[in-house]
Symmetry: C2
Subunit: 496 residues, 2 copies
Amino acid sequence: MFEDAELGHAIDKATYEARVPTLRSELLDAQFALKDQKAFPVLLLVGGVEGGGRGETVNALTSWLDPRHIEVNGMGEPSDEELERPRMWRFWRALPPKGKIGVFFGSWYTQPILDASLAKGKVRWARLDKRIDEIVRFERMLAEEGALVLKFWFHLSKSAQRKRIKELKKDPHTRWRVTGIDEDYFEKYDRFRDVSERTIRHTSTALAPWLVVEGVDRRYRELFVAEELLRALKARLAAPNVARPAPARPSDAPEIDAHRTLLSELDLTKKLSKVRYEKELEKWQGQMALLTRHKRFRERSVVVVFEGNDAAGKGGTIRRVTGAVDARVVRVVPIAAPTDEEKSHPYLWRFWRQLPRNGHITIFDRSWYGRVLVERVEGFCTPYDWERAYGEINDFEEEVSTHGVVMAKFWLAISKDEQLRRFKEREQVSFKTFKITEEDWRNRKKWDAYSDAVCDMVGRTSTAKAPWTMIEANDKYHARIKVLKTLCEHLEEALD
Amino acid sequence: MFEDAELGHAIDKATYEARVPTLRSELLDAQFALKDQKAFPVLLLVGGVEGGGRGETVNALTSWLDPRHIEVNGMGEPSDEELERPRMWRFWRALPPKGKIGVFFGSWYTQPILDASLAKGKVRWARLDKRIDEIVRFERMLAEEGALVLKFWFHLSKSAQRKRIKELKKDPHTRWRVTGIDEDYFEKYDRFRDVSERTIRHTSTALAPWLVVEGVDRRYRELFVAEELLRALKARLAAPNVARPAPARPSDAPEIDAHRTLLSELDLTKKLSKVRYEKELEKWQGQMALLTRHKRFRERSVVVVFEGNDAAGKGGTIRRVTGAVDARVVRVVPIAAPTDEEKSHPYLWRFWRQLPRNGHITIFDRSWYGRVLVERVEGFCTPYDWERAYGEINDFEEEVSTHGVVMAKFWLAISKDEQLRRFKEREQVSFKTFKITEEDWRNRKKWDAYSDAVCDMVGRTSTAKAPWTMIEANDKYHARIKVLKTLCEHLEEALD
């Protein structure tokens, strides 16, 4: 893997100086085309060994490019706000928007590689492989969302590194950069090499390749990175889209035994009397209140997703949940059209940015499932896009629940007749008319297509840690109590 | 002040229950009109004594309103990301966008009132008055930007509070809310009362009034707050704009001795030879590098503003600054058209959100001064708006510099002839053509109006802690060195 980067690659001064001026103006041209088209974001990851020249190269690159459209993220120690969110949150918040270049100095590779290299005892390869697998899926998602991802690994052989660090230590201007690097560090070199070799090998993909840079010669490093970036930028600007293979399973393939589905098996006649409802409401709201004031709740957070048929009673149910907890710890996020900042980031960005801190609850009124529901049915995205969304959503939710976030997802189901009744009622009652629009009537015509989408969605994204609960919602009382009860059960289990 | 809130106001159950259903539907109507018009944000501040029923009232209110369009901010302990920014940063980041209601439970009043009430020795009234003064100006700015600001103070007499807390302590469900409240607390009551009385009196303005709520009776509290909110919402929705008094000084008033200005007195012939420039560049860039790696720099941050004539060389100068420091600690923020999220917040929001953490530098390529430059000259805002901007900008910069942020502001000035030369050059050189647009030629026609605006701006916003430095920029070498040198001087002084 690293053999090619221990050959002593070097560029002489004349060649370097002849190339730099045109290279720079080509880079600037590409950068401005990128900025003007706002077609995609560029992620440039920088990793490698100490003394390999990462910092100097990035500094050279930023001095050649227009610094206004490049963001360099030195991902050091996470802040407390970051520590209270899933691991990847800090990277999501630093993702560059379309038209910008984001350099990640330290990235989602840093921690896995350090964990494996510095662990006491044997390297835990299986754990590393799991992280590698997550990274590969994450980067594929970025690329599918249009991002150009380039990764540079700055390499030095053990002897070259020893020599380089000696030099840096001699110079009072550079000494600060290598304090703390001692013999102990070099003892770890072999292990670090093994771990990073495996990581790089398994994470170098067509969509997000690693490029190993020999770090000995400054001019070589700089030209190498700049030329690769330039080439990638030009190619992507010239041909932003690549034809994708069609999904293996046609999206309109009929199901076998389609008359028995998750939805058809629901008993929508379930109901609760008003008296019983009020008693149960008090009980479960009280329970919610206690649970969210539990001492251990301060170290947990909760994400709740509400999806359902139009007029299924999401709003009223959400209000019964928020009514039970202190208003300061809960936030309801209604998902409507994305803002332009949201549109300039990958699909899941707008949801990542809303993830709660510890001790807080975020309720999504509609959610990331829009892609496999409305976007699928209305054809707002290609079958390829919503097919891949299942996997991306599962990855997202696993990331979130692994952090300890309690997740609950509810599908509020009503019958077609009940929906009609409610639509008509809404048209009649003055203060409810804002709730019924042309779109609702249009969606209703696609009832069956939506039902198929719901069954696929639940089947493919209900997991142990982020389960779907189907709510029979023809009777509002029953629906609200079932939601509250389910939430309490999830919470109790988590706080136990 | 509080006399009216110690009378034992109460609402009987029948009145309450008769009113609530219609009140609720009126509130929902108003909230949806607010959401649809997206005309302004609503800020609802909640303060007052312990046990005054603040939390319960907010919870009742949010259960009546649609929780999807209301955000309740429990402003507890600041996070480390917040502590590393100016005091008001955490409130700016929590400001609701247009169309939403933001409830602040704990606000910019909390700390000043607690500081004054709990201080050892005498109350430092002068210090309190300074904070009060800052708050009044901040809230006036919010209101001028269109926000509807309502502030509720929940009051209890000393005896009523004592009684209430006793009750809360008895009930195991509410005991957690009043732990820590003991006799010591009541000893502070009188002082807390004096401090809050003065604060409320001086911060209750037509644009952001305080409403004192007697906190004894639950039904009274809830109706009081809800009715006031409803009334204010309805009034503002019906008449969003109020005619404003014309500025006292006509904006086109000619200056006395207008031929001698800050700009005319600049010696634009200042220049540096290439040899000298390269030597000086190395010196000052080296100096910058050392200063930004100084140990004490980790506890400071830097904000640099670049403004200047079109083609004055801002980009090149910025690159010489960024080239001197580690790319990880510096970010350049180009100010172009605001995003829709930015447009839905007060003018200064987009700049607040970019303020750097400790150890970091943010360079603004154009800035909040756009309002008193391009917006003034092009008539994008009214004279009233840009006139008030001077004061708001001074407040903003004082807030920032008081936190210890090092501020530097540069005006890069070139002569009209030099600009013409550069425009023509840019049209000729292929890789510079992106830098010259129709707009540049249009702006050039308004040279004198821009010059007036610049002189006003510098005269009114150059302060000891956030000074303007005029840069003679006909010679790029001279300009770059002067900027670097000035920055180093500011930094040296700050780190000393």
